[in-house]
């Protein structure tokens, strides 16, 4: 009898490398919430200054991060998002790619926030109205919900006022009604579908007294602006939108591409405060946008490019990853890798961060399996 497979739930032993586990991501897909930023200083500086300026002054500011495929655009956006998400004074949405136009960007953005978050915002809005018109003092969504459940406030007392105010703030009564309908179990699914621009039947809209359909880019810009104005009214500093793979607009017809860019431009014009959009885009597409659509590129103005990884970057990156799983500091910071073996990995992956990390992960496993003390150039050569 032979054992073709050895299946075990025992953890691989990495202790010979002073590691608790393999720190590298197994999959070359960017982590949703990266803990380590493997970007480059000039990029993180630029992002920091854009983001901080918006946070400090409230004035809108936008930035394009360019970089070739695999140089870490998504990783950069996701890392920035994960930093911002911890802040309570901003709302952050991630759009994986722009789709067929602005309405798709809007849809993805709302979808990324999610039903629960939108519902929470609806309760927050009711709370702000409740604080003003009753003697109760709900400080957030949760306490608002319990005031309603317990009957401490009367829904019929606060809802009309909430709709009135929110219509005032957003200049979009249908949007105000949809937000308020997020708290009613009978209609919250319809309200959500309307808010995400998925489209609902006329009767469902009628039940919420919503007159318009949210079904084109213009309405998308209007809804987005309404959403942001609601947040500012609630005391948020602003909204961050991360639009990844922006280069995919190049596959749209010239007319649709222009329409998409125009809508984004309108959005920026109508939101001079409280909005920060970070685009991830392939450099060649961004070049075209810059030269063909001045009106759009002028609004962004700022661009920063990710360069292919250098050896020095890579040593630092690998060290950062290894440190995550190191119980104590050791003398050789990149052990069991050597500078030479990392150089080879870098060369083979053509400076592509994702590939580098995936290779490091695999080679470290192989080395542990074979009880190699050190990952040499030869070993890498064999493994690749």
């Amino acid at each position: 009898m032979s054992n073709a497979f050895t299946i075990s739930d025992e953890q691989q032993d990495y202790s010979q490398y002073d590691l608790n586990a393999n720190p590298f991501p197994y999959s070359p897909v960017p982590n949703e919430n990266p803990e380590i930023y493997c970007g480059q200083q000039h990029v993180s500086d630029k992002i920091s200054s854009t983001v901080s300026s918006m946070l400090a002054t409230g004035k809108s500011k936008h930035l394009v991060v360019t970089g070739k495929y695999g140089n870490g655009k998504s990783h950069t956006l996701k890392y920035t998002r994960s930093l911002l998400r911890d802040r309570e004074d901003v709302v952050v949405g991630y759009v994986a790619q722009p789709g067929d136009g602005f309405l798709d960007i809007y849809h993805e953005f709302v979808y990324d926030l999610g039903f629960n978050r939108i519902q929470e915002l609806a309760y927050e809005y009711l709370a702000s109205v409740t604080r003003d018109v009753t003697d109760t003092n709900p400080m957030g969504a949760e306490s608002m919900e319990s005031l309603i459940d317990e009957g401490d406030v009367l829904l019929s007392d606060i809802v009309p006022e909430a709709i009135r105010r929110l219509s005032d703030v957003t200049k979009f009564a249908d949007f105000a009604r949809a937000i308020v309908h997020m708290v009613y179990e009978d209609t919250n699914l319809y309200a959500w579908q309307w808010l995400t621009a998925e489209g609902i039947r006329y009767e469902q809209r009628k039940e919420m007294e919503i007159h318009s359909a949210l079904d084109d880019d213009t309405m998308g810009v209007r809804a987005f602006t309404a959403f942001k104005n609601m947040l500012l009214d609630l005391g948020y500093t602003g909204v961050f939108v991360f639009v990844d793979e922006f280069e995919s607009i190049a596959r749209l017809t010239p007319k649709n591409e222009q329409a998409t860019l125009n809508s984004i431009r309108h959005l920026m014009d109508q939101n001079s405060s409280g909005l920060c959009i970070l685009f991830g885009c392939a450099p060649e597409v961004w070049q075209d946008v810059m030269s063909e659509y001045h009106a759009f590129s002028e609004r962004i103005g700022q661009e920063v490019s990710l360069r292919p990884l250098t050896s020095e970057h890579l040593y630092e990156l690998v060290e950062n990853y290894l440190d995550k799983e190191r119980p104590s500091t050791v003398e050789s910071r990149i052990r069991p890798f050597t500078e030479e073996s990392l150089d080879l990995i870098l060369q083979r992956s053509q400076g592509n961060v994702r590939q580098v990390l995936a290779l490091c992960s695999r080679i470290l496993d192989d080395a542990a399996n074979e009880n190699r003390q050190e990952i040499t150039v030869d070993f890498v050569e064999e493994a690749i």
């Binding site: 009957g151 019929s156 809802v159 009309p160 709709i163 009613y184 179990e185 009978d186």
Partner: protein, 344 residues
């Protein structure tokens, strides 16, 4: 199943719930008057009356304030249990012409056992903001009635809302800020054909309170078993009068059948004191007889349900049969079943 049995201890006697309060249209056009049924149908020693319309009928109101009792005026025994609602349903088109204080006065003068608070009913055609205002107003009236109410009669707060949150929220609010013996759910009549919605709303009220729950206006032959299943403690109905007006013959399990559809038949299938002895043609010509039969049909419906429970039979199985004939009500019942199962 949420069906429950309780006993109400009232100024004019005790009553077993769940129970139907047949509407007594005294003080309205005489052609709509309810034939005497108390004493002939033992299940119904109860009546629902409209406080406002009695007060607005001067000759009668004069008699009632000069020593004649309501029960004498109605020609029923003194131990008849009377539920006096405020007459809110009449306000839909008009301005409110009464106050909580005046309504309580009238209800006390009538010697009612149960008082319903003044309310401003909703309509599905209203704008949401208008309905919200009415809900708010009804809650305010109820709380005022609670402040002023004294005596042994029970006070039921009238509650309105076209979504579960509003109903739960209103009941919790009233529970917290007032003192009520029960709750009465209103504004269901305009949406009665939307069984699914009504079922949801009734359930949300049932969940919000363990106190007595009355549903205004839905005690007809189709709704009755559904409401019993949903744990409603009482309901009222004038369907037996209205149906008779349209020459509609009610029969449990079949709903209503226009008598003109039945051309020649000696005897109707019901063994009640009306149909048991008389031939169809006789009943066809006698609207009062038809009204009495229709009320018997409601009594039989209620008796059957109680019987199924007491005999330890499967109520859901009974209702599966009961509702299989009509696609709309069958679906409503299926929805109710799912919702009830989630709760029990």
């Amino acid at each position: 199943m949420l069906y429950r049995r309780r006993k109400l201890d009232l100024p004019h006697g005790k009553v077993q719930t769940p129970v139907l309060f047949p509407v007594r249209n005294i003080g309205k056009r005489s052609s709509d008057n309810t034939p005497a049924y108390v004493g002939t149908i033992p299940d119904f020693s109860t009546a629902m009356i409209n406080a406002r319309s009695i007060r607005n009928r001067e000759p009668m109101w004069n008699r009632l304030t000069n020593g004649v009792t309501l029960r004498e005026e109605m020609d029923v025994p003194e131990d008849t249990i009377v539920f006096a609602d405020s007459g809110g349903f009449d306000f839909t088109a008009e301005e409110i012409d009464t106050t909580p204080a005046e309504t309580l006065d009238t209800q006390a003068q009538l010697g009612a056992d149960i008082y319903g608070t003044v309310d401003v009913p909703l309509s599905r055609e209203n704008r949401a903001a208008e309905n919200q205002r009415r809900i708010d107003q009804s809650v305010e009236y109820a709380l005022e009635a609670s402040d002023r109410h004294t005596g042994d009669a029970l006070l039921f707060a009238s509650v309105h809302g076209y979504d579960p949150e509003t109903i739960r929220n209103s009941i919790q609010h009233l529970e917290k800020n007032g003192d009520f013996d029960g709750y009465a759910l209103g504004s269901m009549v305009p949406i009665r054909t939307d069984y699914k919605k009504v079922t949801k709303l009734v359930l949300s009220a049932r969940q919000a309170t363990d106190k007595h729950l009355h549903v205004y206006g839905l005690g007809g032959i189709v709704y009755q078993p559904l409401l019993l299943y949903l744990g409603v403690d009482s309901f009222d109905s004038s369907a037996f009068i209205r149906s008779a007006g349209n020459r509609n013959y009610l029969i449990p399990g079949f709903g209503g059948e226009p008598l003109r559809n039945i051309e020649s038949l000696d005897r109707l299938p019901c063994p009640c004191p009306v149909c048991g002895q008389r031939e169809l043609d006789e009943i066809r010509e006698d609207r009062t007889a038809l009204t009495k039969h229709n009320l018997w049909a409601l009594a039989i419906e209620l008796r059957r349900f109680r019987y199924v429970v007491e005999a330890g039979r499967d109520v859901e199985e009974y209702l599966d049969l009961r509702f299989q004939g009509n696609e709309v009500t069958r679906r409503a019942y299926e929805t109710a079943k799912q919702q009830v199962r989630r709760l029990t």
